[in-house]
Assembly symmetry: C2
């Protein structure tokens, strides 16, 4: 491509509504233009990168045996009524009436439509397994679209849906998609992790998210650098940090801690490690027609409550925090010095796994300005109900026993999910099994946010000059910058020769023949993020040299004119074959 025939829309400034790096850089590089909130045009340079993501996704989906189809964006309400989501789905589902007053939706996802295909076209176990996928613009009416393509309303998704005879088949289809996703994000060249949505092993999990690692990511991820364990912090198993409970060594003793309501203050005041203190969290659950049940959750002073885990405990689903009035009524004192000892009315005590193995610990005395030290399970308190109720922290043991957890932030770009028979049962998607009996198909669904991948790649790869694309999804792999294309025959001839050589080799090359000054040229291509640059100038040519610079290099290196083309071709090919 020659730049004079291309459309380059670089901007000096990002618009004010662009809050994050990828949004700013995609606007400034001329990749996207805003049409409405969360709705964008993909300009030529942006679409080139999208098409490359799509091509890699398509190749790997085909390699995994999935079959590409295309379902409509506009879907009849009847299908959503059958699945129950017409009612369940919130206002993110765009509903409308057609000219005949019939209800439709613009599809944010396609489980209903694909299940409708399966129930009509799949009759026999001989037709299973099958995995249908599509790459398509989806619409989700986000209440507050932001962050450019990261949380848009209209966006491009690859969505796939597998159909299997039984759970073993589903597990196999799921594994194939998991492996395909690993290949896809590896080929794109992103640092990523497959994150278990519930627990960390692929075999036992019904759901994994694929996250691109970036400091700006919305999700906190706990992972083990020495294994492939990774989980959302919210979902990661928190093991006890104390392997075995030590025997009591201290006497229980009520101690004044005047004005020291927080664990940190208590530890400092008593001159003990924070790890000896206990945080008391008081929750309530309703009982119809009776007074609520009051719960005391005990965490180590340096830990925090994980409310997803707490919600899963028997009896605690839908809990709320207790009111001050309830606390006074049950504990005989306002919040600040609470503990399990001598409550006024009975409370249900749950100890975190780590707390359950502590000894000689410190709790509030249920009296203002007093804590009790040297408290021990069994001796001073009955043995507690034990549960995992805390968030993991850096350095925690990895649940797979293979090291310590690290923390990072991630951007979710993919999701694989075992749906089971949820949709096939609701919509009657059955097949005849080997014995001729009807059985529900087992379904999996597998998504990749194609446009989001671009944003995530940028969040992971940028500097103060602009985007730094991996070769795999760069709009162009190489830019040729001739200094004086319109003035110097030698420069023009050499640039044209290189252009032809690179094109011949299948390199995605752009020749900047716009006649811009070097500063403008360099700034544009650094902003756009082309990974390799060759500068052709009269001065260098006299010495038989060209300037080569990779986008990540801080300085240019000189290459002999006759070798420059070959060297760059090899660099690109090496990067793409990684």
């Amino acid at each position: 491509m020659k730049a004079s025939r291309f459309f380059i829309g670089t901007l000096k400034e990002a618009p004010a509504d662009a809050e994050i790096v990828s949004h700013k850089l995609m606007m400034r590089a001329g990749m996207i233009r805003r049409v409405a909130g969360g709705i964008y045009d993909y300009m030529p340079i942006g679409l080139r990168s999208i098409r490359k993501v799509e091509a890699i996704v398509r190749e790997e989906m085909n390699r995994a045996g999935a079959l590409e189809i295309l379902m409509p964006a506009v879907q009849p309400a009847e299908l959503w009524q059958e699945s129950g989501r017409w009612v369940q789905y919130g206002p993110e589902l765009l509903r409308f009436k057609d000219r005949h007053d019939r209800d439709f939706v613009v599809g944010p996802t396609h489980e209903e439509v694909v299940t409708d295909i399966a129930r009509r076209d799949i009759k026999s176990y001989r037709q299973l397994p099958v995995n249908f996928y599509q790459i398509q613009a989806k619409f989700r009416d986000e209440i507050r679209p932001r962050f450019g393509v990261m949380r848009g309303r209209e966006f491009i998704m690859k969505d796939a849906y597998s159909f299997d005879k039984d759970q073993a088949g589903l597990a196999e289809s799921y594994r194939k998609m998991f492996d395909a996703y690993v290949r896809i994000f590896s080929r794109i060249g992103l640092e990523f992790r497959a994150v278990a949505a519930d627990n960390g092993s692929i075999g036992g999990s019904g759901s994994h998210e694929f996250h691109v690692i970036a400091d700006t990511g919305e999700d906190a991820i706990a992972y083990c650098p020495d294994s492939d364990y990774a989980a959302n912090v919210e979902a990661a198993d928190a093991l006890p940090l104390i392997a075995e409970r030590a025997a009591p060594a201290e006497e229980m003793k009520k101690t004044p801690t005047p004005g020291k309501a927080k664990c940190e203050a208590v530890a400092e005041y008593l001159n003990i490690p924070l790890e000896r203190t206990i945080k008391s969290i008081v929750l309530a659950t309703e009982n119809e027609g009776a007074e609520p049940t009051i719960w005391l959750l005990m965490l180590r002073g340096d830990h925090s409550l994980n409310d997803i885990k707490a919600n899963k405990l028997p009896g605690l689903a839908g809990y709320r925090f207790a009111t001050e009035q309830e606390i006074v009524e049950w504990f005989g004192t306002p919040p600040g010095y609470l503990g399990p000892l001598g409550t006024k009315k009975p409370v249900k005590v749950v100890a975190d796994r780590t707390v359950a193995n502590m000894s000689d610990f410190v709790v509030g005395s249920n009296e203002v300005d007093y804590h009790t030290t040297g408290v021990n399970w069994g001796r001073d308190l009955p043995e507690p109900v034990v549960a995992d109720i805390r968030n993991v922290v850096e350095g925690d043991p990895s649940p797979d026993g293979r090291g310590a957890l690290s923390m990072c932030r991630g951007i979710e770009v993919g999701h694989v999910f075992q749906l089971g028979t949820k949709y096939s049962d609701a919509m009657g998607a059955t097949y005849l099994d080997e014995t001729g009996k009807p059985a529900s198909m087992l379904m999996g669904c597998y998504g990749i946010g194609v446009t989001r991948v671009l944003g995530a790649a940028i969040e992971q790869n940028f500097d103060d000059k602009g985007i730094i694309w991996p070769e795999s999804i760069a709009p162009f792999e190489v830019v040729l910058c001739p200094m004086g294309y319109d003035r110097s025959d030698a420069v023009r001839e050499q640039a044209d020769k290189l252009y032809a050589q690179l094109q011949e080799a299948g390199i995605d090359v752009i020749l900047d023949d716009r006649g811009e000054r070097p500063g403008v040229m360099f700034a544009d291509w650094e902003l756009i993020g082309v990974p390799h640059r060759l500068v052709i100038g009269d001065r260098g040519l006299k010495e038989g040299k060209l300037e080569y610079q990779a986008r990540r290099d801080t300085e240019a290196t000189l290459l002999p004119v006759e070798e420059a083309g070959r060297v760059v071709i090899e660099k690109v090919k090496a990067a793409l074959s990684k």
Copy 2:
């Protein structure tokens, strides 16, 4: 691709709502499935053909210098309010409100969005010309969707929009698109015609439709087999069929024609050619606060009125047919024997070009059961207002003077159109010209109905067994049908070898390893329309032969085993390079 890993959904019967061949065959071949009225799933075999159409379109658009972008399906109402189409566009425009109660549309076309891009990103004449295109699913809420992909509600379009400095630039952009369309439909291998929407020469026209010729087409087209002239019958220039008016030879004479109200009956009764009679058509146009103007349009007895042409005549826009009461009031007689002679009140007479050159013709006498023969202009009637008001008929002279017109039917698959400054004026899309003054950009728009092309290709290429695809857009180019793939080692080995050979050569081959009986296999692939078939059987192999049959062949031919692969590869490559 191996058939066992593919999804083949052939049906014995088409659904009852499928009225035309392409709809029936696309359903039966398993290409599409109905989701709602005019809304379809594209199944794997259907999508393969769509992708091939898209690839050809994309290649030729790129070759013509157009730049691919992707605009959103969902568009804010504000843009449509600016252009005026929020009001003008009928109920085919799907309007909806988002969760914040803001108005949006699902785009049936993208003039507004692309003009919005241009006005923001194009500042200077140096950025012109530019031509943006996209390939995308569009939605048009047809009141009565039918004919499968031919008139669906959601469909795939390629739409392009050019921006130029001036009319000369627009004409050049238009010409490039016109040429690209000719290449696209030629490469696909369809018989087609570029049809002028107003007049027949590309230079002078602001709009051409590209029609695939098929007996089942909705549009009637007049074309000249000896030139490239073609026009919608409604738009084709009708030249006078009599070059020069002959001098009067007969006396004017009132003649009884009892009960003969139609030209055919009068001609037969008087024993004269129909070409001597005149058809009188009485129209009315309203005059506010006064009585209407009554018009008498005179056509030769064998011709028919073209109401598009009539509507363009000065004073006749928005005409209606006169009521019987008006006819009696102006002509003194009810319809049946009307003419220009001696009307009761004055009428405006318009003669078709052919009628204007007639002499000694026959008109109604404005008296029941009477006609007048030997009527002549100048002598018996004042010279008339002359205009082209009739439809062309087979055998008419071609307006380009290069032969006689033929008639055919066509399916519109593409449209190129010079918009001029309609949208750029309405939406303020200006650029700074060479002198630094703002000027409106000149726009053109260029559409291809990608999914419609499939339907049109089938309407042009089918037989009683099914579809006959041109190689360019066939879901597979070659099918290998082994007889007993699971039973005979020799057959399986030979089939696998051919499969590898064809794949190696880049042929899109499917190996039918499903183990179906030959009858089922052949019927499926004939229905699906794969253009080349090789049958591998034990009997043939013993003699060193394979059976080859092209989809259009009535019989198979035998090929030596060792040559079969090469022969088929050559046939496919020859067809694709046409």
